[in-house]
């Protein structure tokens, strides 16, 4: 067991090292892409009622855009080396600070959504696979189709309309916490954890209430791929020899389905969950906008619209690093779910 664990760590380390060149590539590519895009951030930000040429030049200088592109790249890389991601024109804050404040919000939302999705999708997929072609199977298919068809912002607005506007059950959809609630001391940045650490149950409940609607509207969208994959791989697994053998030796239903079939079927689900997680983190911009969630995706979108280079570059770098991390975690999960993988 110990050697298996050691092998996993070593493999993780190798994977991490081999991803560094890719990260560097992303860094340079994003940098160049931002400069190729039409749209001059200096002109955009110099839009006070009297801003003229002088103001534009000044902002250009402030953003370092008065230098040539290769020079800018060198400055940018040396800044990154020192852990400085630049300053956002939009919020006036260092990008690192913005991202550090906003990333926990996005992560908290995405984790919750993914968890809700998994809790809903895996049983749905299993149930559908146990009785393929039955009414239950069709019901699951219909539910999944609906979830995918309705864009997240539509389901988000619908949920708000029903639970906040009509029924008044949900709190107002404005960010992570009610404006009148005081915040707990920041430890992890995850409000639901920080409130618990501070022992403030009322605050914790307030934070959870804010989280439910956006998490559900995000989860609805990703239940479909997860449930479909679970169903497909459960079907393969249930039809395989070992399950037949297990059944024939008279193992309990639960043992057959959960221990043998599901454990073998879960690998592709983990892969998909990893991909879904990375996509959700970047693509939940619509949910963040609808629920005024102060996350990284809406931050990056606003920055992109105003050609604010530093935040966009910082965001892409962050996403790339997270993607590497998620792949790593998926790899490790593989090893746990299927010990054979650690040989590779």
């Amino acid at each position: 067991m110990m050697t298996g664990f050691g092998a996993t760590v070593a493999r993780a380390g190798r994977r991490l090292l081999s991803s560094l060149p890719a990260l560097f590539g992303v860094l340079v590519f994003t940098f160049l892409l931002m400069r190729v895009l039409p749209g001059d951030p200096a002109v955009f930000f110099a839009s006070g009622p009297n801003a003229g040429k002088e103001e534009i030049e000044q902002i250009r200088k402030q953003m370092g855009l008065d230098k040539s592109v290769p020079e800018q790249l060198v400055f940018y890389l040396s800044d990154i080396g020192r852990g400085n991601l630049g300053r956002s024109m939009m919020t006036g804050q260092p990008v690192l600070k913005d991202l550090r404040e906003r990333l926990p919000a996005s992560l908290e939302l995405t984790f919750t959504a993914l968890l809700i999705a998994l809790i809903a999708a895996v049983p749905l997929g299993v149930v559908a696979a146990l009785k393929p072609g039955s009414l239950v199977d069709h019901g699951v298919r219909l539910f999944c189709a609906l979830g995918v068809c309705v864009p997240t912002f539509v389901s988000g607005l619908l949920l708000i309309y029903v639970f906040y506007y009509l029924l008044g059950l949900a709190p107002d959809p404005t960010g992570r916490i009610d404006v009148f609630t005081s915040l707990p001391p920041q430890r992890t940045g995850f409000l639901s954890i920080d409130f618990l650490l501070a022992g403030d149950i009322e605050g914790w409940w307030a934070a959870c209430k804010q989280l439910i609607l956006p998490a559900v509207s995000m989860a609805l969208f990703v239940i479909a791929p997860l449930a479909r994959i679970t169903r497909a791989s459960m079907l393969v697994s249930l039809g395989s020899d070992f399950v037949r053998t297990a059944r024939s030796v008279g193992l309990s239903w639960q043992k057959v389905v959960v221990t043998y079939a599901l454990r073998n079927a879960i690998l592709p689900v983990i892969t998909i969950a990893g991909i879904v997680f990375s996509t959700m983190l970047g693509a939940n911009v619509l949910v963040e906008k609808v629920f005024s969630w102060p996350g990284v995706a809406s931050y990056a979108l606003d920055a992109l619209l105003s050609s604010d280079y530093a935040p966009v570059q910082g965001f892409v770098l962050l996403m790339a690093s997270l993607f590497v991390m998620v792949n790593l975690v998926v790899d490790i999960c593989y090893g746990i779910a299927d010990p054979r993988v650690s040989i590779g």
Partner: protein, 539 residues
Amino acid sequence: MRFVSFRPASCVLATAALLLVAAAPSQAQTRAETLRYVTGASVNTLDPNIPGSTRESFALSMSTYDRLVAFGRKQLNGKWVFDLDKITGELAESYDVSPDGLKLTFRLRKDAKFQDGSSVTAEDVKWSLDRCVTAPILGKAQLLTGSLTSADQFKVIDPLTIEVTLPKPDKLALPNLATVYPLIINSKVAKEHATADDPWATAWLKEHTAGSGAYVIESFKPGEQVIIKRNEDWNRGSPGKPAFFKRVIVQSVPEPATRANLVERGDADLVVDLQASDVQSLEAKGKLKVISTPQYNSITFVSMNNQIPPFDNVNVRRAVAFALPYEDMFKAALFGRGAPLFGANWPDGKPLNGIYPFQAPVKTDLDKAREYLKAAGLPEGFSTTFSFNVGQASTAEPMAALVKESLAKIGIKVDIQKLPDAQMSTQINEKKLPLFTEGIVAWLPSTDYFYRNFYTGNQRWNYSSINNPELATIAQEARFEPDKAKYEEDGRKLNAIHFSEMPQIPLWQPNQDAVMASSIEGYTYEFHRQVDYRDVSRK
């Protein structure tokens, strides 16, 4: 990987059902004394002078800082709006203008204190005004429009008196001191944070305030929310009283439909940037107070680049002016919420007055448009693009479709171009767009100011790139014209040139639709087009 726990999330799920029965308890006691204002934009700096600062930052600074003087307010069609002609003291107890108009003398209030308790002195005022005209900040370009350009113009007479000298009797000098930028800073505090590179403490003031205003910053989260609390010592509004609300929460809610829901449910008190369709339905329901003021210092128009063929031909511009589907656009884009600048009747073909913006005698008349196109030598029409920026899509998108449809009828083929905001401003700055829609606003809306800034020179705000020497000369002369009758005559001339040259086509002045809880009173349309939190109170 960060530390991650799934447990709270599973609790979320377990308690999801509970949510359906538990309603949020509201904090009723402090709620009435708190103003919750929601907006699609956000505050990005505490000093509005920083290049790139947003309109919300302008509004916030009105409450955190005082200026020497402030605009009064007047009623326009039963609604309160700012009054450019009535300038009252804010930090100044009184002011004098010398008979030749070259000297402005301000006497400061004896009781005025900064938020740290120290007195406001003439030295602070001088330092602040010097900063405004010297430091590389936005105030510089603004004060220039009032002939305030150099630190030599501000002189301390005694600790409570300051004198401003002008090179010419400029009508806009005094109003300029009431705008957003020349805020009065506690110079002792600011100097402590000045550095050799940054002698005017711009970096520090971006994230801190050192003023004497009605509100103190309680918390500032750029891009999310700002909470300010009342400065109990401030008495510059109604005598002897601080501002009404104890706390003001300025919160960014990007989705307009959510803002509408919030204010309708009573969770937010005031919002000024809803979509026209939402305002209409909220008004129809009658539960909330809706105050719609035409933004009389702003104009939306369709602009043509007067230097690019075929729009360099005045007849082409006139053809477009008579081919636009004004009424339909007005309804589709604004739901009729605004003041139209088309469809006027000029009996003798001359402008009715010398005020800009003016209502022009243009209307949809396709036969006339075809005639103009023929006169331009383009009877078959031509192809062009019509651009607008993403930020204005909710109004500009329906408009663009109608423009395309209507211009097609006279043979002008239009491709619609929707540009990201930064790209649009870049293309405008480089004068590359042939036909587009934009809006302008002037803090100090006088006729000559509009013409000088938006119709002269090879600069960004001259959207139509018009180069008309006669117009430029008259506008320049009008600036220093002391005689009201002559000024009016100049205005008429300018408006006549505008109509005959048709450099761009003013469409309308959109309404500022302020939607608020029925208990909110005192809302005033301000020059910066945001809410001045000091104006409002709760019944």
